[in-house]
């Protein structure tokens, strides 16, 4: 019970202090919307293409929202030594890192909801398979957040976190099949696509929003969940190795 009081307090503090601040809104929402708007205008297909573009904008919103905020806040707190205060608390490292990431996961899910709400005014979403879309969004948010955590605990400075994040994020946009089908990528690049967690999330979102899926649905879910576990375990290992020296 005491550990959960600590958990909720960390989550509430981070939400107030970080997730609702303007820089996060710009990175998490404006950038992905502008990115998708570019594809929308370039395709020239009109409002009919909104549903087809939705998986892309949803995934990119989550990816940028979660990785931006977490890579900065955790690194910032480590640099300012306030993270030591959390490490000194009688709370397990696993629960502590879950508390630090839960806000980002919720922030990612909220980011995903914005383009979906906007799309609901522009297109008919009655054919969307929400039973797939909702868990897919949640898993993409978790995987992206843990990727952000992995980045945050691998660097020392905030600017390094931002640079390192972009090193992962921008190639992901092109390689994960959100805007360009993986089948159309050069053969030697395709294996790289399957090393990215968002590839499986994008496949699930394509399926949920009426597109065709490259992989079976259970396989996508299983692999995405596996990425979540692996990234979280790697992050914990890095915290123990680098921060508790």
């Amino acid at each position: 019970m005491k550990q959960w009081i600590a958990f909720w307090s960390i989550l509430a503090k981070d939400t107030r202090s970080y997730y609702l601040k303007p820089p996060n809104i710009s990175w998490g929402l404006i950038f992905p919307l502008a990115w998708t708007g570019m594809f929308f205008i370039r395709s020239g297909a009109g409002l009919d293409s909104v549903t087809a573009l939705l998986p892309g904008v949803v995934a990119v919103s989550i990816l940028f929202g979660t990785t931006s905020v977490l890579a900065v806040t955790v690194t910032f707190e480590k640099k300012g030594r306030s993270f030591e205060r959390l490490l000194l608390a009688p709370i397990s490292l696993e629960l502590l890192m879950l508390a630090k990431t839960s806000g980002a996961i919720l922030f990612g899910i909220a980011n995903a909801a914005v383009p979906v709400m906007i799309a609901s005014f522009l297109a008919d979403l009655s054919d969307v398979r929400w039973s797939v879309a909702v868990p897919a969004v949640a898993l993409i948010a978790i995987a992206s957040t843990f990727l952000g955590l992995f980045i945050a605990v691998s660097v020392s400075e905030v600017f390094e976190a931002q640079t390192f994040s972009n090193f992962f994020r921008f190639p992901m946009i092109f390689l994960c099949g959100l805007f360009f089908p993986i089948a159309q990528l050069p053969v030697f690049i395709r294996p790289l696509s399957y090393l990215l967690p968002v590839t499986y999330g994008a496949d699930l979102l394509h399926g949920a929003f009426g597109g065709t899926m490259a992989l079976p649905l259970p396989l996508d879910f299983a692999l995405l969940a596996l990425f979540c576990l692996a990234l979280f375990a790697l992050s914990l290992r890095n915290v123990k190795r680098r921060w508790i020296t």
């Binding site: 005491k2 009081i5 959390l86 000194l88 608390a89 009688p90 508790i244």
Partner: protein, 331 residues
């Protein structure tokens, strides 16, 4: 041997950073309710030792017991028993003083009503009640230190680790903090204090452990440290212009005395017998130097420190203050 009366017990504690042996086989014990001073120059291994005791650093070897709990395998096992005040204030600048304390209390599982009342109690005790609603980032250095100490004791820890609590703050705040520490000690809290202010250690601590290059070179009670000096008598002379240059002549004229400069325009004279003032005043008057003040001084821990560590206490203090950006001093 761990007993119920032992709050901290350390055996063979070691830590190496690359080529540097930061801590080398430390062994000591702190009784429940005791205030132990950990004294040493910069880089002696004080902070590394605190980090290992509190679970922020992994020892390369050795055993740590806190409150009878062996933390060697699991550093988190005794974290509910301890409070930590680091050498730099590390609270959240965007939160108010009150919110910072409530947050720290929540980390130890305290419920809302309990943490809010405890936060106000400590803000009041530390003289910060008026500033409780202001953001921590806007606090003065002294206020930040006080709130950081309040955060360290918000959950009423049995053992409190304080790393250089008065470094870099003004004299008045440093005095307040020492008073608060003395109150905590009287209340039964075990305190492990690292400091480079020898006067602070002398005033607060029951026992002192001297650490140099990662090793404890001496551990003794204040009484044990000072007693050998009791038969020494000292006189501190504040002299006018040119007086300090006469130290050599003074030593030659009074061979039974040990004579040394003690800061700017001050000379310290020591002897086995009480030092009469008149001959010394005459010595300076004959050389047209005024004696502005002459006062008896008692033997201090500073002398023990210099003897034990081989380091000049004044040089250590200046170096630390330069690094810490201020100087609380031991007023």
């Amino acid at each position: 041997m761990t007993t119920q009366q032992t709050a901290i017990e350390v055996e063979g504690l070691s830590k190496r950073f690359g080529e540097v042996q930061a801590v080398d086989g430390l062994a000591f014990a702190v009784r429940q309710g005791e205030l132990l001073g950990f004294l040493g120059p910069n880089g002696a291994g004080k902070t590394t030792t605190i980090n290992m005791l509190t679970g922020l650093a992994r020892p390369d070897g050795g055993r740590i017991c806190l409150g009878g709990i062996d933390c060697s395998a699991n550093p988190k096992a005794a974290q509910h028993l301890i409070g930590v005040v680091p050498d730099e204030s590390n609270l959240y600048p965007e939160l108010t003083g009150f919110a910072n304390l409530c947050f720290c209390a929540a980390l130890y599982g305290m419920r809302r009503t309990e943490r809010e009342s405890r936060a106000w109690e400590l803000l009041d005790k530390f003289g910060l009640a008026q500033a409780g609603g202001r953001k921590f980032g806007g606090y003065s250095r002294g206020m930040k230190r006080k709130l950081t100490i309040a955060a360290g004791i918000i959950h009423r820890p049995a053992v409190l680790f304080l790393d250089e609590p008065t470094t870099g703050i003004d004299v008045a705040s440093a005095r307040d903090i020492r008073q608060l520490l003395a109150d905590l000690h009287r209340g039964g809290t075990t305190i492990f204090l690292t400091t480079h202010y020898i006067e602070e250690a002398e005033r607060l601590c029951e026992r002192i452990a001297f650490i140099v290059q990662g090793r404890i070179v001496r551990t003794a009670t204040m009484d044990e440290l000072i007693r050998p000096l009791q038969d020494r008598h000292g006189l501190l002379l504040a002299v006018g212009n040119g007086g300090a240059d006469l130290v050599g002549d003074l030593a030659q004229s009074f061979p039974a005395y040990h004579v040394a400069t003690a800061g700017q325009a001050q000379i310290r004279v020591e002897a086995r017998e009480p030092v009469p003032v008149a001959p010394l005043v005459r010595f300076f008057e004959e050389r047209a130097v005024a004696v502005l003040e002459a006062r008896q001084v008692r033997p201090s821990l500073e002398e023990v420190f210099v003897e034990v560590t081989g380091l000049a206490a004044e040089a250590m203090r200046k170096e630390k203050e330069k690094a810490g950006g201020g100087g609380g001093g031991a007023a």
